[in-house]
Symmetry: D2
Subunit: 339 residues, 4 copies
Amino acid sequence: MKGFASDNNAGICSEILKAISEVNSGHVVAYGDDAITKKAELRFKQTFGPESEVFFVFNGTAANVLSLKALTQSFNSVICTTSAHIYNDECGAPESLTGCKLLPIETPDGKLTPELISNYLGGRGDQHHVQAKVVSITQATELGTVYSLEEIRLVTKFAHSEGLFVHMDGARISNAAAHLNCSLKEVTADVGIDVLSFGGTKNGLMGAEAVVFLKPKITLDFKYLRKQYMQLSSKMRFIAAQFDALLTGDLWRKNALHANAMAQKLASGLSDLKAVKLCQKVQSNGVFVQIPREKIKSLQERFFFYVWNEKRSEVRWMTSYDTTEEDVDNFLKIIKEEL
Amino acid sequence: MKGFASDNNAGICSEILKAISEVNSGHVVAYGDDAITKKAELRFKQTFGPESEVFFVFNGTAANVLSLKALTQSFNSVICTTSAHIYNDECGAPESLTGCKLLPIETPDGKLTPELISNYLGGRGDQHHVQAKVVSITQATELGTVYSLEEIRLVTKFAHSEGLFVHMDGARISNAAAHLNCSLKEVTADVGIDVLSFGGTKNGLMGAEAVVFLKPKITLDFKYLRKQYMQLSSKMRFIAAQFDALLTGDLWRKNALHANAMAQKLASGLSDLKAVKLCQKVQSNGVFVQIPREKIKSLQERFFFYVWNEKRSEVRWMTSYDTTEEDVDNFLKIIKEEL
Amino acid sequence: MKGFASDNNAGICSEILKAISEVNSGHVVAYGDDAITKKAELRFKQTFGPESEVFFVFNGTAANVLSLKALTQSFNSVICTTSAHIYNDECGAPESLTGCKLLPIETPDGKLTPELISNYLGGRGDQHHVQAKVVSITQATELGTVYSLEEIRLVTKFAHSEGLFVHMDGARISNAAAHLNCSLKEVTADVGIDVLSFGGTKNGLMGAEAVVFLKPKITLDFKYLRKQYMQLSSKMRFIAAQFDALLTGDLWRKNALHANAMAQKLASGLSDLKAVKLCQKVQSNGVFVQIPREKIKSLQERFFFYVWNEKRSEVRWMTSYDTTEEDVDNFLKIIKEEL
Amino acid sequence: MKGFASDNNAGICSEILKAISEVNSGHVVAYGDDAITKKAELRFKQTFGPESEVFFVFNGTAANVLSLKALTQSFNSVICTTSAHIYNDECGAPESLTGCKLLPIETPDGKLTPELISNYLGGRGDQHHVQAKVVSITQATELGTVYSLEEIRLVTKFAHSEGLFVHMDGARISNAAAHLNCSLKEVTADVGIDVLSFGGTKNGLMGAEAVVFLKPKITLDFKYLRKQYMQLSSKMRFIAAQFDALLTGDLWRKNALHANAMAQKLASGLSDLKAVKLCQKVQSNGVFVQIPREKIKSLQERFFFYVWNEKRSEVRWMTSYDTTEEDVDNFLKIIKEEL
């Protein structure tokens, strides 16, 4: 049974599993020096521009942490929101593995702005203070909202003027680009992002993410970091093939559009329920709602999901590439029964 | 075309790919809290004993580094051979991520002995010196040799008497157990190993390794280390299913026996060639030979392989679970033509 | 000329310089294995109780960082205030060298309470979240306030009930004990503190701080951490002699009482100035006041001091063991002229 | 009573203690932004050249580790001798705090040569291998020998041609320069050294060492590293004043020449003793001799010293700036009685 707990709970998209199977014949050189990997790397260059450079890693935490590691020294700081995955959900990996302090900013919709960032730039040049070096934004945000292209442009312009890099945690970048009806390049390189964590797993891959450097000359030596931080796959062809398939015929967009549409359908179906209050705009594949505290447990028993904020009685419902209309209808029916 | 460069160059064993495919339906809880993962974990307990505890990770470097991390503090040292994977082939990950110094010991056959280890135990209790805490042995060794059960027992007994843990890098533990005609438990827990890096990738998996704690109470808190060190898979079921299949019906042994047999066949075929000198006993799936320096390049062009030691003109030929008798015959034919 | 910028700007108290000079004859064993160091260590046991154990280090950052290092693993978090020295003034050393995340809590007077702490204990047992392990409080606080013994007791009782250690940054512990008119033991060990950074430098030493473990069995192996983190002095006798002198005849209290009294005198002298608004209770040797923004610069030119909070136009005036009544009168005269 | 165990066992040279005392009046800005520190920094520029830049730290381990930290990333390696202080005597601090692997080279006299180094340069550009980045030499060596200027020049020329930096652990650089009868600049910057750990403590200081960058543009950001790694002194004037005094009127040379002469006197006095075999040339302030194993203990009881190599029954006798002719005569008398 499919649920609405997490897009990580879905399996492998059929096109992806097929791609894994198709490259499984004979021997190829390990560790990425093979034709399948080269082909996938070329697809990334076609997608993000000829100056971009991609490195495949195993999971999203690694994509984020190694992106930050490449941009910082241990005395730097990274500015992010209090809801950022790097701040909340990676067991302190960013601090522990980069040495940097994360500067968390409260924000109602999961988005940073130049004004918010500017409060965290004190102590530049003072040896007693960490030196801000990176702004990390999440697109789509952890709250299901999506930065407009203009909003990103304002952040990157301000950040660059202050000597800061901008990293994008794009675990759900496909959902954001689908929502904005733009290309992956338009929502990243073209609006000034320096380094991107490109998410595959939440969009139908078995398990693979990519660090994409969008500007030349940042990447020097990154291959050693990837290896030393235990993210170099020996049978790389199977990761590469997944990405190659995801970028073929815009499968990434097809999957993301579907997940987004299912979230819209779910939100629409909730609109006439007085007991349910939408907490955020539904712009990607997440629906954040406040529901009566006393109803949470019984509802969870029928369809498991996570409580997002205990205090506010706010819960998170996620759709994925494989959520069907029937799944949504079924879930709505149960919600209505319970609430 | 299949080669003899590395067992990492082989693809996914058909039973394993089938297992991945079979668990790919519907949603399951992410990050390992699902029935497929529980089943695989149970198989490890059945294999290594009820007190053992397993944690799946993405690759061999991670299995080794996190094993050592769990056993040490930053001021400890780890005793290993100069040929150990942790010393040579992990881009300094063990030092960088555990903080520990590795103490490398020269040994002709890749094996440690109590006598060799005893030279590296100076400075105990002296605050100026790193404090030896772990002996790490590799089974089968990087040189294709295999410790006998008695040899391991001597090492673990000595190490424990000195207050040291013993870690086994078992990237090719299946080949060793196949050679020794014993169970996985007999070659690890039963002879005193504390923590095992259990290798799957070199024996037919798509990409998965496991840290197996063989003694109770070492593992406390390891789940946080795995997450923080970026080795927690979200779609864990696909890693778990691979291991479940590998341990089902002793597939691990079948694959390893075959690879070992192919190495024996290759070595036998070389025995009447004067230009080829065997450097190590062939006890697993590696054949280490000295060949005329001037012949290396032309031979590599027909069948790629790695030079192991430039100075000694020593090369390494590896077989794998999918090497066929024809592959070996064909390779032998070419060797004879070239040498 | 003496100023009110920082208690770090004062020199060496005469008794301390004399102590350094007196132990400077002949050879003694280096690295702390000498009679002078043993004598100082014994004084700490007499001061803090027989179960306590002291380790001398070079500066306050080291005392704090190594205290936290001894209590944590990299996946832990440390709860502190946003005004804590470990959060603001150590260039990210705590995160970088312990790997831990610091959880900063806003508080008006620099003090933590059980209620404030309880908001930061989520995610216990969840592998995605850092695991809270230490509460770090500062006594006297960075804002010049002092926890009462009862306030500390409430924090330590709550923290211990939640499985947390309590660290005290005691860079100005002497000023706090002087204010509370209690012994050093009463304000630390007796109210439940686990580990103390005992400050010497701000109270007249040339440069020396101490990590004091107040409970048995925490310290195991700390000597290796101190050495590895570059805090073991070779000519230890000269650090030890400073502490021995500081604890002799309660020199620590004499110096601290005097600095506190000078702060009181300064605050009293300001009370009839309408342009000056006291921001915090004056309980140690710091006076925090709001003054007209446009007056700051001209006043700084005559007596240098630091702006504490630009936005609030708040400045910090510190007294020290060597501040004289004349210094205060002189400063008050200038303030009155300028404001 | 003065001994021959270690130059760290000596106290503070009278000129140095006087210098500390003389700068102890009034308030000065903390953390190095004061006139006394500026004056000492200027002296370093006069000593090592206008392009050099100095940073004071607390001890030798810090000077070495932070020098290496400034030159490396975590995937680099540092080439040194097996007798190097960074390899043996710093409790793994270099590995733990830089993340780098140390590549230890056996050498009979403590000196590296281009030929020895060249064996450790394999794996350049290979992501599986650490990337050699620094050669660290010790002058005078841990064995009391001294590199000639030409020997250093050969090492730096070779290292630079291979893209490596050269660090000099100059804990006893003064003894080396005194032996070579050259300036401090001639034995460092002029022969190609990139970064120097300049030792003060073993030559009469209370406790202070310096990192000296000898080439421009290496130092960018070093102030943050020093602070974060807990080596920024608040009352910096007292460290600066020691160095200022050491460099005034070549006090460094006077002290070192005397220590060296006392070592020569000791060695000469041993020359007619059959039971004593000199193991190394006496070129600085250390005398390494083989003595009958059974005599060591009784001799140690009368004059404590360290056994350097248990297996070879080799012991180390060190002289210092304050060793007198009478001390040497007395020690020789006792040696003759015992052996």
